[in-house]
Structure formats: C-alpha cells, structure tokens
C-alpha cells in the first residue's frame, strides 16, 4: 500500500460525509415513501418539499431532555448508541464506490481502504453491530429493553449463518475476498444475481434481518416490548440508534449492489469509457467515466434503499417463532443448497447454465419430496 496522500484523505472524508448525508435524508425519504404508499403527502413544511426536515428532526432530538434511568449502567448506557453508530460507519470503508481517479498521473481508488479481506471486514463489523443494541438494552436496566436486545442478538446470529453461506457462494465464483475484486469480476452486465438468483434472495432476506427492518424488526416491536432496546433512550442517544439503523440500511444496500448487482458496473461501460477517453483525453475521460460508474452505483443503492422502505410499508412483522423457523429451517438449508449448486456449476465449466440446471433439479426434487415430509417437521 502506498503512503497516504491528501487525495486519499479527501476520498475517505467524502465517503464519510456522503454516508452521513444519505443516512440523514433516508429518514426524510422513509417518511415520504411511507406517506405516498398510504396515499398521503408526507412532510413538506420544512423548506421546499420538506427538504430541511432531517435538520429539523436533528434540532428536535438535540433539544429534548436527555434522560438516564437512575439504575442504568452509566458507561454502557452511553456506549450503546455510540457503538451502534461507530460500527455502522465503519462498514462503508471497504466498499468500492467507484473505479479510480487519475490525479497528477497517479491512480487513486474511489474507496476508503482496499483490503484483500474486504467482505470479511464487512461481515465482521456487521456482526459487531449487534453489540450496540445488546449493550444499550442491557444497560437500560429495563426488562423490555433487555428482551429487545436479546431478540436482536438471537435474530442476528441466526441470520448471519445463512448470510455467510450466501457470501461463500459468491466467493466461490469470484475467488477473492476483496470487494473490489468481486465487483470487477462482474464487469458490464455479468452480474452475480443472474448466476445465483436464489443466493440473492437469501442474502436480501438476511440483510433485512441484519438491519432489523420490517418484517424482521422484532427487537423494537412496539406492541410487545414498548420500544424494545431503545425504550429508555431519549434525545440524541435515541437519535443515534435510529441514525445507525439508517446508516446500516445504506451500507447494506451498497453491499448488496456490490455483491449481486455489479457495484459500479453497468451495461455498455466499456463503450462509454472509450467514447469519453476519445472525447476528453486519457485522464479526464477516465475520471468522467468513473463518475458515471459512481452514478450507476448510487442508482443501485437508492433502488435498494427504496426496496427496504417499500417492504417496510408493505409486509407486517413476523412472529418470533416464524422468524426463527424461517432462519434456521428455511434459509440455512437453502443457503447450503445454493452453495452446492454454485460449486457444481463452477466445476461444470459453464457457471450460468450449470447454475440454472442445478436450481431446476433442486426445485424438481424438492417438489417431489415435499408430500413425503411430515407437516410438523416442515420448514417455513
């Protein structure tokens, strides 16, 4: 790794502030999307189209009373939201937002840090993210908070297994743990989602569960647990928890786009790159092409953020046993099957056709064997 330069610092800071800004505006868009789906218009008083709403929300949060329960563990109580926010922000470090920028004859990657274990980093930090919730719920000294925290921990652990196995199938095809390598391998429209549609569905479901979003938002199911792990939180500490959730949503959308939808790749990118280089010269053309790729990546991210919200305002919350059944009896076996299919397809020499043949064989066998299973032992 070459020495840190000012350009790297600028890129890192830009990624940091962009993810914060997007997370802030997600809160606004969440409300607008919710309103539109429910035939309302949503917040539109603060500024034009209500665009200053996140600012107003932040002011409101800061000026609220910062209450701390008398018997709470003071240190952990403060640490909880901080940790949640910290882990949410860390993940975006390894995400390749764009190809590279050539400045002064040197090539800089549009990415926080390029490490060869990128996907492990994402996975590790996401697993760490549950500590924010767990510590907050524990430190509150409130049984509902604790219930919420335990629920968050157990659902995260359950769904991480299936998620990890879905990622293993990706790693098999890319033969690298680096997120950038995974993205570059999906050049053009050679996206993983076409190779592993089932893996994508598993990963998406697990991503919803990892973000604690509806239909898996049991840690904060208000009709059972008051507000779950953040029952005792108020003011900006509560704000940090909510903010961390939105940051997670942004990062998860980015990870899904990277792993399954080709990150900054888009159909016809070689032609665009060649045309831009022809028009604006080697350096400027390459840089502009990078920005076009950046646009493609953010379009994908925004689509997935919208999907998160769309699902939230469509699907009701699962029951806890349904959540566990889906995780352990549904997604984990499916993820194993997906792994086997991908491995076989990889060995067969033509991954695309092999993958679909494997999937078809699996579905046929499954449908044929289904009537033989006992109803009680069934998954889902």
């Amino acid at each position: 790794m070459e020495s840190l330069s000012i350009v790297n610092v600028i890129i890192v800071l830009t990624i940091f502030f962009v993810s914060l800004g997007i997370a802030a505006y997600e809160t606004y868009f969440e409300r607008v999307v919710a309103a539109y789906i429910q035939d309302r218009v949503g917040p539109d008083y603060a500024g034009p189209y209500g665009l200053l709403q996140p600012l107003a929300d932040a002011f409101k949060m800061f000026f609220k009373e910062d209450f701390m329960p008398a018997k709470a563990d003071k240190l952990l109580f403060v640490m909880g939201p901080g940790l949640a926010l910290f882990t949410a922000l860390l993940t975006s470090a390894v995400i390749p937002f764009g190809d590279s920028l050539i400045i002064g004859g040197k090539e800089y990657l549009v990415q926080g840090i390029e490490v060869n274990i990128g996907i492990l980093w994402v996975f590790g930090i996401v697993a760490l993210g549950v500590y924010g919730i767990l510590i907050g719920g524990w430190a509150s000294n409130n049984k509902y908070s604790l219930y919420g925290a335990i629920r968050a921990a157990s659902s995260n652990i359950s769904y991480e297994l299936a998620m990890g196995m879905a990622i293993i199938a990706i790693i098999m095809t890319s033969e690298s743990l680096s997120v950038r390598a995974i993205v570059e391998q999906q050049h053009g429209i050679n996206w993983n989602v076409f190779y592993q549609p089932m893996g994508f569905l598993i990963f998406l479901t697990c991503a919803f569960a990892e973000c604690n979003r509806t239909p898996f938002d049991l840690p904060e199911s208000e009709n059972e647990l008051v507000a779950g792990y953040h029952t005792e939180y108020s003011s900006m500490k509560l704000g940090s928890y909510l903010f961390a959730e939105y940051l997670n949503m942004f990062v998860t959308s980015a990870v899904i786009s990277c792993l399954y939808f080709g990150g900054f790749n888009y159909p016809g990118m070689d032609w665009v790159h060649a045309t831009l280089v022809g028009l604006a010269g080697e350096t400027a053309g390459h840089n502009i092409a990078t920005f076009v790729g950046l646009g493609a990546f953010f379009t994908k991210i925004f689509f997935f953020i919208f999907l998160f919200m769309w699902v939230r305002w469509t699907v009701p919350r699962f029951r806890y046993d349904q959540l566990m059944n889906l995780g352990w009896k549904g997604l984990i076996p499916l993820a194993v099957v997906n792994m086997v299919i991908t491995a076989a397809a990889q060995l067969s020499g033509s991954p695309l056709i092999g993958g679909y043949i494997g999937l078809a064989i699996f579905l046929i066998v499954f449908v044929l064997l289904w009537p033989l299973t006992k109803p009680k032992s069934r998954m889902l």
């Binding site: 999307v33 539109y36 789906i37 429910q38 035939d39 309302r40 218009v41 769309w310 699902v311 305002w313 469509t314 699907v315 449908v367 289904w370 109803p375 069934r378 889902l380």
Partner: protein, 189 residues
C-alpha cells in the same frame, strides 16, 4: 351469524408449497403498495386548503339585510323560542323617524345575542324565522375562543356587512343538484 354483508370468510386451509415460500404473497403486497405509491393523494393541506363543506353546512350565524341594506330582523323572538339550547336572546326596539333606511319594519332588534357556547348549530332558528333574517353561513366557522368574554356574539359580529354580502351557493335541492353537476364537470369526472 353474519353481521354485515362485507365480511369475508377466513380461508383457513393449509398453505401449499408455493404459498409457504411467502414469495407470491409478498409480490402481491408489493404490487398493491406501489400502485398506491403512484396514485392520487387524498390529503387536503388544511390551513391553506379547505374542503368545500356543501351549501347547507351550518356555521357562523348571520343577520341578513335586505336589498336596500335594511335589517330584516323584527325581534319577534321566534328564533329564541325555537332554539333548543336557549342560546339566543334579544331586546326589541321601536324604529324612530329617520331610521327607515336602517330597519325594514317598525320594530327591530336593538340587541341580538347568540351564546356560542350554548349554540348547537342545529339551524332551527333559521327555519323558525318568518322574516328570512337569521341564517347559518355555509362558508365560515365560528372561530375558537380563548376567553369567556368572546363567547357571546352581539349584533356587531352577526349583522351582514353590505360590502361583503353573504350568498349561499344553492338555496333549493334543485339548485344543489345543478351545483354538484357543475362541480363534477369542473373536476373532470
């Protein structure tokens, strides 16, 4: 027992294999919500926009004047008698020489008060009035009061302003039906 004709019988059959994956149900649900996402919004932005309440809405009271600007009320007291909430009270006065341009008949209401805390906006005063003097406006609410002094409305608040005359959009059922038709055409329905 069926209480309404809108109730649907719950389908309690075992889900089949495809339904068990949740995917068809999920797709249907997402389809419904995205349809609503792009549909016309029902919101009326209240303080800026107000819903039209119809020509027969019973709001703020008004004591009408006739075409020449003379008060119609003769203080006969029928409205006060008709009022189920006993909200109306009045003091009659005799018209003096030179006041013919102010009052239509020899007797007039020197004071006319409506207690807005008692009034239930039933409109019986309007029906009882033989002189077509008192009406409940369709286009104006009685505003919120913040102290007890503001509760009793005197003639200064009730008598019609000749510069801003009150006219109902429709006086009869037939008028109203025509009005609805016109509105529907204007709305393009």
């Amino acid at each position: 027992m069926q209480l309404t004709d809108r109730s649907k019988k719950t389908d309690k059959r075992e889900l089949n294999l495809i339904e068990r994956t949740y995917l068809p149900g999920l797709a249907t649900g997402l389809g419904i919500t995205i349809k609503h996402f792009f549909s016309k919004k029902a919101t009326i932005r209240y303080p800026e926009q107000k819903r039209y309440l119809g020509p027969v809405f019973r709001g703020h009271h008004i004591l009408k004047r006739d075409d020449q600007g003379r008060e119609r009320c003769t203080a006969c007291g029928l409205c006060a008698v008709a009022c189920p909430a006993e909200a109306i009270s009045m003091v009659a006065g005799e018209r003096q020489k030179g006041e013919e341009h102010m009052y239509r008949e020899e007797k007039y209401a020197a004071q006319y008060e409506v207690n807005m805390l008692r009034c239930i906006f039933c409109g019986l005063c309007e029906e009882a009035c033989p002189k077509e003097a008192i009406y409940l406006r369709h286009d104006k609410f009685v505003p919120v009061f913040t102290s007890r002094d503001q509760v009793i409305y005197g003639k200064d608040q009730l008598v019609e302003d000749m510069k801003d005359r009150y006219n109902r959009d429709a006086w009869t059922k037939e008028d109203m039906e025509q009005m609805w038709v016109k509105q529907r055409i204007a709305n393009g329905v």
